[in-house]
């Protein structure tokens, strides 16, 4: 059975459910809208900031503020793509049709990742330009050093978040359980761990903390993060690979 056939089949599956449109649509809207809002607010408050904060003001990163919420919709997308197979029982029909489980899982993930990448890139560029428009005089230009990398990286970040969720859902085999763990983790726990001084050193190696470094253009003063933008994205990619390998191992071994 050629992988292309499985990929075509997975494409039919992913485009024929409403949840794809809803989750990806929500990711786009929330990321862009929140990014524009926070950009507009930041512009108004720039004058009140301390000198120090003004120096480390990062217009590119500000316009990506919506990612923190928009990534949650990406997580839901990733979880549902894989998890729905389990919750609906479709997994048995699917695996009866594609007995090679590796082909099945990675075709599914490839299709969902491809779709997520397109959506995330469009979102990333849109949120950058619209956010900069809100910032007025403070705006960065796409031609400035590091900015294109940050915008491109923003798209990769969203895609990797979705992939990580797919891997976790394949490991946990339940959309509810996966969402119950991933949502609070990325919305709260990771932020707390990354900002509390006691856990900061560990927290910065969590996937979203490390990955979001790619969207920074201006490094904050007294920043002691031991990795650069690409290093951070690399750390996130390692998390994703671990999740996918784990998901594959579970699918390969367990009864469907």
């Amino acid at each position: 059975m050629a992988a292309t056939q499985v990929v075509r089949s997975e494409w039919t599956k992913i485009r024929s459910v409403a949840s794809t449109v809803w989750t990806l649509g929500l990711a786009v809207v929330v990321t862009i809208a929140l990014g524009m809002l926070i950009s507009a607010l930041s512009k108004n408050e720039f004058g009140d900031l301390s000198r120090r904060d003004q120096l480390s003001f990062d217009p590119t990163f500000i316009s990506f503020a919506g990612t923190s919420l928009g990534q949650l919709a990406m997580i839901v997308f990733g979880v549902l793509v894989v998890g729905n197979e389990y919750s609906s029982g479709m997994i048995r029909t699917s695996l009866a049709a594609v007995p090679r489980r590796g082909t099945f899982l990675f075709s599914k993930i490839a299709v969902a990742t491809g779709l997520a990448l397109v959506v995330a890139m469009v979102t990333s560029f849109a949120t950058f330009f619209l956010g900069q428009a809100m910032l007025g005089d403070l705006k960065a230009s796409i031609g400035d050093p590091g900015v294109l990398r940050a915008v491109f990286g923003g798209g990769l970040y969203m895609t990797l978040i979705a992939m990580f969720s797919m891997g976790v859902a394949a490991m946990l085999r339940s959309p509810m359980l996966s969402l119950g763990i991933l949502m609070p983790f990325f919305f709260l726990i990771s932020n707390i761990l990354g900002n509390v001084p006691a856990t900061e050193k560990v927290g910065r190696f969590l996937p979203d903390q490390a990955g979001s470094k790619i969207m920074q253009v201006v490094t904050p003063i007294d920043d002691d993060v031991p990795y650069g933008p690409w290093g951070g994205l690399g750390i996130m990619a390692l998390w994703v690979i671990a999740a996918l390998v784990g998901g594959y191992a579970v699918l390969k071994r367990r009864d469907a």
């Binding site: 499985v6 024929s16 997994i91 048995r92 029909t93 049709a97 594609v98 009864d255």
Partner: protein, 429 residues
């Protein structure tokens, strides 16, 4: 051809399937029967490579399913009608399966027509009834025009027209030389559809034989004879004449006689010779369903118990007696006795042999009556005892006195059990 060898599946300390070996041959519908929880679905899942057997193996056409080349074109399966993403339209569901094995979209519309779902092809399967879901599952199984088909409970939730259709579909598929393996817990359905039967209980093989063999080994044919109601002495006369001729005669509550061991023409001749007129002489066959239930009786995991409605009933008025429990038919775990042939004993369940158990529902009266008399063990002996009190004490004389003078309270109770037997639909087939 599906071949299982020593298939065993354990979930923790629960053994779902134990040492199951069988073959499913092409060109016939093979019925896979067993009570709820007997391991039918687990076996089906192992055939499809969804569950890994703890030990043993199962192959389709010589290959384990997970190594079968282009599996979707060779094997079609209906496992669970609800194993569909409810938000996906029926046609898209089938299309995604078709694309897996390079089946053209045209074929999807074809099978939708075959199962009669063309009008709802664009609707989400969430809104489907159980029967529509089954049809969708069957469509998925037919998609690749496979040589091997597996159906897990295909008629669940179908209307009579649908059941009829599935039945003919299975037969047609088998007639084309395909391998058709159908699980069900309904013997009556399988008796009409299948050519071959594999019966399991508690994950173990109970029977593996053709339906014809199963019927001849397990069903008890009998004739019902009715003499004129107006002349009871004719009935007595015929009873003794038939018994002399070598038949077993059992009275039925409405006055008819149930005769086994004599062909219909012979009964007519005997009646003629005895100068007895007949109002009825009709052939009957005991239900295959009964034979199946008897076979699986010891292997039923989920059995209902009597509903005592504790706390729901009005307290009895003072002085009133609670209704007496009558052992026998209508209560869980009671089945009609096995037919007189040896055949019934072939498939004694591994845990216990219901028909043989001396402490069975017939226990006390039947066993002592039959054994000392040296007769072939006649399960209807209990029924005769109250009818012919002259015989019973003679047969029971070697027994200790405790058994012989049966207390009056105890005697009617066992008798009432077989007496209600004829009310069972013996023509269930």
């Amino acid at each position: 051809m599906i071949e299982a060898v020593g298939l065993t599946k354990r979930y923790g300390d629960k053994t779902a399937v134990y040492n199951l070996s069988f073959q499913v041959r092409p060109g016939a519908v093979t019925g896979f029967l067993g009570p709820n929880g007997s391991g039918k679905s687990t076996t089906m899942r192992m055939i499809l490579g969804l569950d890994n057997p703890t030990s043993g193996h199962v192959t389709i056409g010589g290959h384990p399913y997970r190594r079968l080349p282009n599996a979707a074109r060779q094997v079609g399966a209906l496992l669970d009608a609800k194993a569909v993403h409810g938000g996906r339209a029926a046609r898209n569901h089938l299309l995604s399966l078709a694309q897996l094995s390079g089946i053209p979209a045209r074929r999807v519309d074809e099978v939708l027509g075959v199962v009669g779902l063309q009008d709802v092809a664009k609707r989400r399967s969430k809104g489907f009834s159980l029967g529509m879901g089954q049809r969708l599952g069957i469509a998925a199984a037919l998609l690749g025009d496979p040589q091997v088909l597996l159906f897990d409970e295909p008629v669940n939730g179908l209307d009579p027209e649908g059941i009829h259709w599935v039945r003919n579909l299975m037969k047609a598929l088998a007639a084309e030389g395909r391998t058709v393996f159908v699980s069900s817990h309904l013997m009556s359905e399988m008796a009409l559809t299948a050519d071959h039967l594999i019966v399991i209980g508690r994950g173990q093989l109970l029977a593996d034989m053709s339906v014809t063999d199963f019927i001849s080994a397990n069903s008890a044919d009998f004739a019902r004879v009715r003499t004129p109601d107006t002349e009871p002495q004719l009935r007595e006369k015929l009873t003794s004449a038939l018994t002399e001729a070598g038949g077993h005669v059992l009275p039925e509550p409405d006055g008819a006689l149930r005769v086994t061991g004599l062909a219909l023409p012979r009964i007519s001749d005997v009646a003629h010779d005895a100068d007895v007129r007949l109002w009825e002489l009709s052939p009957h066959q005991a239900s295959l369903e009964e034979a199946y239930m008897r076979m699986t009786q010891g292997a039923v995991d989920y059995r209902s118990t009597a509903d005592r409605k504790a706390g729901l009933q009005q307290p009895l008025p003072p002085g009133a007696q609670p209704p007496m429990q009558v052992p026998g038919q209508g209560q869980p775990g009671w089945y009609a006795p096995p037919p007189p042939q040896q055949g019934g004993q072939l498939f004694a369940a591994p845990q216990s042999a219901p028909g043989q158990a001396p402490a069975g529902p017939y226990g006390a009266p039947a066993a002592p009556g039959a054994v000392p008399g040296g007769q072939p063990a006649n399960p209807y002996a209990a029924q005769r005892a109250p009818q012919a009190p002259a015989v019973a004490p003679v047969a029971q004389t070697p027994q200790p006195p405790a058994a012989a003078p049966a207390p009056p309270a105890a005697a009617p109770a066992p008798a009432s059990a077989p007496a209600s037997d004829p009310t069972k639909p013996e023509d269930a087939r």
